[in-house]
């Protein structure tokens, strides 16, 4: 028995020692070295995602990519003119970079070039060195956070979605508000921050718990019913005034419908008005010019100085405003929105003249989702062949519109697939948008640098630790919003507001035209039907 104990003790000791050695080897591997002999490939290596010619923010997390060259071993030397950089090695084609050396490399080379030298060794052969992949490090930081919706390719039923925030200097993603099992399948959307600061934010909520606007200010969340009457639509697309006391909202009656050919999904906006919610007095301020029954007004956005409201508007060419006379008016494919502007005095809350910034007839496209740059000179908009839901249209592209002259030009970052849902960083140098460019089906987030001359640069996707992350991901990234800090309210606070807080009714000055709330019901998934069918 004693010898057995000794045997067990010795075996356990060996096992522990082997485990420690393995851990040690894994952690304290010597850094790989660059090959000293190699042949020149004569071209840059193909990498996915493609970071060649991209501008990277100096505070972005380490990128990763997959080298699309056959080989048994890979080395990548990341370096800059002013910095020797570092080398990473891998037996697989996926390469990721260590955080600290990466941060040092970017921080020490603001405004300079970044080079990636790729070496590939094929089995039984020597090393090949590919031409450098050159990127640019921007001088300006990007906002440290981006918030977005993450949801599957839902159509009508939804069981799993949420609004999340991602720290851009790391890979950490945290939920702001999730809708998962046990949540009665609510839809959360239209998260908006005041001046990119989530200390003031709104989040639209729709589901079995009802329809409401969650308003989070300085750590407290309230639930507000913005509807002007019981059956009226609630305020959804929101935009905070720079003073963080007013939120422009779109009160829209929309339905989703489906095509038998081509782009399958579509949305029609039967009617919509704009109103401005005062979060302090809990009142929706109306203005006839932006709540005209003969027009459909939506997608509000304040100018950077808060002295104007920019929005999209189209003349209502149909009589049915409720959706009761038929599914969708046949003129749906002729509906195009103009880009409008109305002056506003934030001190007196009075409105000025309404003017057209850019007419849809001039461009032949529908102009929606305006976002004004922080320097107040440019509006970044989405233009699409018709309608108000560009993410469903392949034709959607991003455009810059000069707010003074009305001149417009497409971004070079556009793709043949849908590009939409965008946001400016606070310093006005970065934009983020949702694009289906890679697959035509799944939207991912892309970042692009906008230089001082207003030129956008080649976009790059939201970096992930694993370069294969998007390869088998069925989720869509949607509605990105930059933020200068993390959301200060945790999910529990939002849930407390949803479940435990009574909804504050809002006094609305909007006239009640009898608009219906035609938002699609996000109900429980279809259960198997009753058994008997005799």
């Amino acid at each position: 028995m004693t010898s057995r104990r000794v045997l067990v003790a010795v075996a356990a000791t060996f096992a522990i020692a082997a485990a420690c050695a393995a851990v040690g080897v894994a952690i304290w591997r010597p850094a790989p070295e660059l090959p000293t002999t190699f042949s020149a490939a004569g071209r840059p290596a193909r990498i996915v995602p493609d970071y060649a010619d991209c501008w990277l923010p100096p505070n972005i997390c380490p990128i990763s990519f997959r080298i699309e060259e056959a080989g048994a071993e890979y080395r990548v030397h990341a370096h800059a003119d002013a910095c020797a950089g570092f080398v990473v090695g891998s037996r697989g084609a996926s390469v990721s970079f260590p955080s600290t050396p990466w941060r040092n490399l970017l921080d020490g080379n603001r405004g300079g070039q970044l080079r990636f030298d790729v070496y590939v060794r094929q089995a039984g052969a020597g090393w090949r060195k590919f031409d450098s992949i050159v990127s640019q490090v921007a001088a300006e930081d990007i906002d440290p956070y981006v918030a977005y919706r993450l949801l599957g390719p839902i159509q009508v039923l939804s069981s799993n979605m949420g609004t999340y925030q991602r720290e851009l200097s790391t890979y950490v993603q945290t939920p702001i508000l999730e809708s998962k099992e046990g949540s009665s399948r609510r839809c959360v959307n239209c998260h908006t921050f005041a001046n990119n600061d989530p200390d003031s934010m709104v989040l639209h909520l729709r589901g079995a718990e009802g329809t409401a606007l969650l308003v989070a200010r300085n750590g407290r969340v309230s639930k507000v019913d913005t509807r002007r009457s019981e059956h009226a639509p609630p305020g959804s697309y929101g935009a905070w005034h720079p003073n963080a006391k007013l939120v422009a909202l779109s009160f829209s009656a929309m339905v989703q419908f489906f095509h038998t050919a081509g782009n399958r999904r579509d949305v029609f906006m039967f009617d919509s008005d704009l109103g401005v919610l005062s979060v302090e007095s809990n009142r929706v301020i109306a203005c006839p010019a932006i709540a005209d029954p003969d027009y459909v007004e939506t997608f509000p956005c304040w100018s950077a100085d808060g002295k104007a409201l920019i929005f999209s508007r189209t003349k209502r060419q149909w009589t049915d405003r409720t959706g009761n006379e038929g599914p969708v008016p046949p003129v749906y494919k002729d509906v195009r929105f103009d880009l409008m502007r109305i002056a506003f005095d934030p001190d007196t809350c009075t409105w000025g003249d309404l003017e057209t910034v850019l007419a849809a007839d001039r461009v032949g496209l529908s102009i929606v989702e305006p976002r004004v740059s922080p320097d107040n000179r440019t509006a970044l908009v989405t233009m699409t062949d018709y309608g108000c839901f560009p993410i469903f249209r392949d034709s959607s592209d991003l455009y810059f519109v000069d707010l003074n002259s009305g001149a417009y030009r497409p971004l070079s970052a556009n793709s043949p697939e849908s590009d939409s849902w965008h946001s400016w960083s606070r310093n006005g140098r970065w934009i983020v948008f949702a694009s289906k460019r890679e697959t035509g089906v799944f939207s991912r987030l892309f970042f692009s640098y906008v230089d001082r001359d207003g030129r956008d640069q080649k976009p790059f996707p939201l970096p992930q630790k694993n370069p294969d992350f998007y390869d088998a991901l069925l989720d869509n990234f949607n509605a990105p919003e930059f933020a200068v800090k993390p959301v200060g309210v945790n999910q529990r606070e939002f849930l407390r507001a949803i479940y435990r807080t009574s909804t504050l009714p809002v006094k609305s000055d909007l006239p009640d035209y009898g608009l219906p709330n035609t938002a699609p019901a996000y109900g429980t998934p279809g259960a198997p039907p009753a058994f008997r069918m005799e």
Binding site: M1, G152, Q155, L157, T260, R265, T439, P525, M533, E534
Partner: protein, 613 residues
């Protein structure tokens, strides 16, 4: 106890032979009568009120494993999902299920030995018999069984590791070292471990531990479920002790059911011991003949129980529905029709009707025999969320050329049911047809992690690399040929076949379903109007139900139909004449009428038509 070593060997061989015989029977019954393939293909099949089959998904890779490992009981569920995939192969699935039952049996024997129970070899058959009974009801509780099996071997592991240790604290520490990871891996199955260990400690007369073990086990399980609830935001927010208790009870049910067997084993052990004591007291030893007699009686009882459980509990109704579903999923349409004719179910779930109509069309019999089965226009063709429970719907839409509707329906199914392999496969096909190879690759890469369909997905990925449009694929070519190209919006489901037929006059499936809809909605004039298209679609005669509809239309309108060179069968017209004759009689004989119209369009027409028509 056998008197000699030879007797002991014979006794052991005898028991091994009985066990082998039992599990061979188990395997053969599960393979030939239950048919594990029915489980594999039976996902979402409705078997009763509030009851449907849910077959687990399994994907290779660390993501899927970590998704499970993060939850209590997730490891057992992960293993069970992996084992369940073998049900794709009837014999393989039966072998795996038999192996699981054998490990449960062996684990029970081991625990019985550890607990020093007498006669446990006999009572150990209760668990595999219970599994057989459950499988006969077409329930696949693999996750619960796997967790109990692991718990049983955990008991053995504890017994070995704690064998040299004495005292409360050292043994409690070893118990904790086993219990905590087992709880996280097994979930409710840890209760089997906790109770069995407490019995071990009771036998060893360790102070306090017999009480500490089950209490600690329950406490750790509660804590694990609490942690899981709190990590789900809404569940955590709505946390109440009642909810925690109810979830814990639900997790503990399989263990509680198994522990009944442990109680049975303990009671039987007491009975055996008392009998031995009585025998010893009377100084009479059982003769070899007595032992043989008792052995034969035990075997006979076991055989009887096995036959009773298996054939007595086999749910023939459910098996019929699942068989039909399985044949539909394998596109064995003629066999499906044969199955439902030979074994008609008492009631037809809507999903089965969708498959039957599809089978009738594929066999060229939809226009002749659809009214041999109960029909409802609402279930002829369905899309979107309504169609999610019926697996045949989206493949029907796809085959008919309703590409966008099929895509919509499958996306709804994806959201509701998750990444089932058949959903991923169809979405990949749709995106290939729509010339979106990159989107197809996303679905295929995910599908490549499936152990059964992964090979097909990898092959497809390779083919896409060579030809991103897959022009040479017959399914893709077929769908592209018939895909609706005209853009219309908000088309009602029942108009889709008509739209598809307008797109392509060679779309025989669209024609068949269009005509079926006309029949179901009493539009006999439309049936007559479309008879002229039959020849272009390769028909050699007017299908029976169309002829019946034409005769009805003639009778109702009084206008002789223009059949465009077609002739009505004499048997059809005679039957209609006989039917009219019978209905005109003042003393109608319902049975005679029923005999005439059974399985005909007339039966449906007069049973369901609106009074005005």
């Amino acid at each position: 106890m056998p008197a000699s070593r030879l007797d002991a060997n014979r006794w052991t061989l005898g028991r091994a032979a009985v066990a082998a015989g039992f599990f061979i029977y188990f395997f053969l019954f599960v393979w030939r009568q239950v048919d594990p393939e029915l489980f594999y293909h039976g996902d979402m099949v409705v078997l009763g009120p509030e009851r449907h089959v849910s077959f687990p998904v399994f994907q290779t890779g660390t993501d899927f494993f970590l998704e499970h490992a993060r939850q209590p009981g997730g490891v057992a569920t992960y293993l069970a999902s992996l084992l369940a995939q073998f049900c794709y192969y009837p014999a393989g699935g039966a072998a795996v299920l038999t192996l699981v039952a054998m490990t449960l049996f062996h684990g029970t024997l081991v625990v019985g030995r550890v607990l020093s129970l007498d006669g446990h070899a006999a009572t150990a058959y209760v668990a595999p018999l219970a599994i057989l009974g459950i499988l006969c009801s077409f329930v696949l509780p693999l996750s619960a069984i796997v967790s109990i099996v692991i718990a049983l071997y955990g008991v053995a592991g504890f017994a070995v590791s704690a064998r040299l240790v004495r005292g409360f604290w050292p043994r409690a520490a070893i118990y904790g070292a086993w219990c905590v990871p087992l709880c996280w891996c097994l979930g409710g199955g840890v209760l089997v471990f906790a109770v069995a260990v407490s019995l071990i400690e009771h036998n060893l007369r360790t102070p306090l531990l017999p009480w500490v073990c089950p209490s600690a086990g329950c406490g750790i399980l509660l804590l694990a479920i609490y942690v899981r609830m709190m990590t789900q935001p809404d569940r955590g927010f709505h946390f109440t002790w009642e909810r925690l208790a109810s979830e814990s009870l639900r997790a503990a049910v399989p263990s509680a059911v198994y522990l009944i067997q442990v109680v049975l084993m303990a009671v039987w052990s007491l009975v055996v011991r008392r009998r031995r004591q009585r025998l010893n007291a009377s100084s009479s030893l059982a003769s070899g003949r007595d032992r043989l007699f008792r052995g034969l009686v035990s075997v006979a009882l076991l055989c009887g129980a096995a036959v009773l459980v298996s054939f007595g509990l086999l749910n023939y109704e459910a098996r019929g529905v699942l068989r039909a579903n399985c044949l539909a999923r394998k596109e064995m349409w003629a066999e499906l029709l044969r199955e439902v004719r030979q074994n008609p179910p008492a009631a037809y779930p809507p999903g089965l009707l969708v498959d039957i109509n599809r089978a009738l069309h594929e066999c060229g019999r939809l226009g002749d025999e659809m009214f041999l089965f109960p029909q409802n226009p609402a279930f002829l063709i369905q899309t979107a969320d309504k169609a999610v429970p019926h697996r045949g719907c989206h493949s029907l839409l796809l085959a008919m050329g309703c590409l966008n509707e099929a895509e919509h329906t499958i996306y709804e199914a994806l959201e509701v049911l998750g990444s089932r392999p058949y959903i991923l496969r169809d979405l990949a096909v749709i995106n290939i047809v729509k010339q979106r190879p990159e989107a197809a690759r996303v679905f295929l890469r995910l599908l490549s992690r499936d152990v059964i369909r992964g090979g097909w997905a990898n092959e497809c990925l390779t083919r896409l690399d060579a030809d991103s449009a897959l022009e040479s694929d017959p399914l893709v070519t077929h769908i592209r040929r018939f895909a609706i190209a005209e853009n219309r919006i908000a088309v009602p489901d029942h108009e889709l076949p008509e739209l598809a037929f307008q797109q392509n006059a060679n779309n025989r499936m669209a024609f068949d379903y269009m005509m079926a809809y006309y029949l179901l909605t009493f539009q006999t004039d439309k049936v007559l109007e479309n008879v002229r298209r039959l020849r272009d679609l390769g028909y050699e005669r007017i299908p029976e139900h169309y002829a019946e509809a034409i005769l009805l239309n003639w009778h109702v309108t009084g206008q002789e139909p223009d059949l465009d060179d077609w002739q009505l069968d004499a048997s059809t017209t005679d039957r209609f004449a006989a039917f009219l004759e019978l209905t005109r009689k003042p003393d109608r004989d319902p049975q005679a009428i029923a005999r005439i119209v059974s399985g005909s369009y007339y039966e449906y027409y007069f049973a369901h038509r609106a009074p005005s028509s």
